[in-house]
Symmetry: C2
Subunit: 149 residues, 2 copies
Amino acid sequence: MRLTMMSDYALRVLLFAAAHPERLVTIDETQETFGMSRGHLMKIVGVLAGAGILRSQRGRAGGFTLGRSPAEIRLGDVLRMTEPDFEMVECFSPASACNIAPVCRLPVIVSEALGAFMAVMDRHSLAELLIRPQDFGAVAPRHSERPLP
Amino acid sequence: MRLTMMSDYALRVLLFAAAHPERLVTIDETQETFGMSRGHLMKIVGVLAGAGILRSQRGRAGGFTLGRSPAEIRLGDVLRMTEPDFEMVECFSPASACNIAPVCRLPVIVSEALGAFMAVMDRHSLAELLIRPQDFGAVAPRHSERPLP
């Protein structure tokens, strides 16, 4: 049982943006900081920006910053964006091939447990996770300080 | 976020054994019922038998049956046997490559949420999931009725 890589990376991206509230952070420096694939990173930033959790600006002087204050970003809401289906067991899918799916009560119990998991995540916000810029290791931004859009 | 295939299959195997309390069920009929790989099935039965949740008997007339009453088999305990690591995020692993792992509080929060998930699973037992033999579809046992070991 584990969160998807998307969730893991999304939380790192948010922490990195939160640690630099005075400027846009770039895809390049985020990629260098965490060693994540550029493709995954672009996708994550796109998803979070689409939901308003990040604000992004395209172009050479572009980058992204938080779209809300850290206290307003519930961890549960981040997971709802980055966990593709929450299909905890195969029978959560309409395409389930399990032959006892019509009578099995397991999905009810697993849904209850998942609800308890998400209730905890919803009680916590990004504000509780904030760390300092120097905690990410020494990463020089590609562009010098840049005003917010 | 999802349970491993091992957990999913382990629960199906237990339900199948529980539906036939009067006899040993075989690997063959379990495989035919659920269409799972024989290798995975052998591994799951081995793990559950090792923990006493199943009793198994080797040989041509062999098979397996529940080693405890369904009410004594907590779903959380099954997951603890079949979820290899509960590494919800990469940083749960000692081999984590995440560069903010030393300062990040995410594992504390995710562990709390995982605890809430498992607390729900521990409140439920196999007894709540029991279904009838005919709910598995028509599967003819390879051997006729066979006494318990």
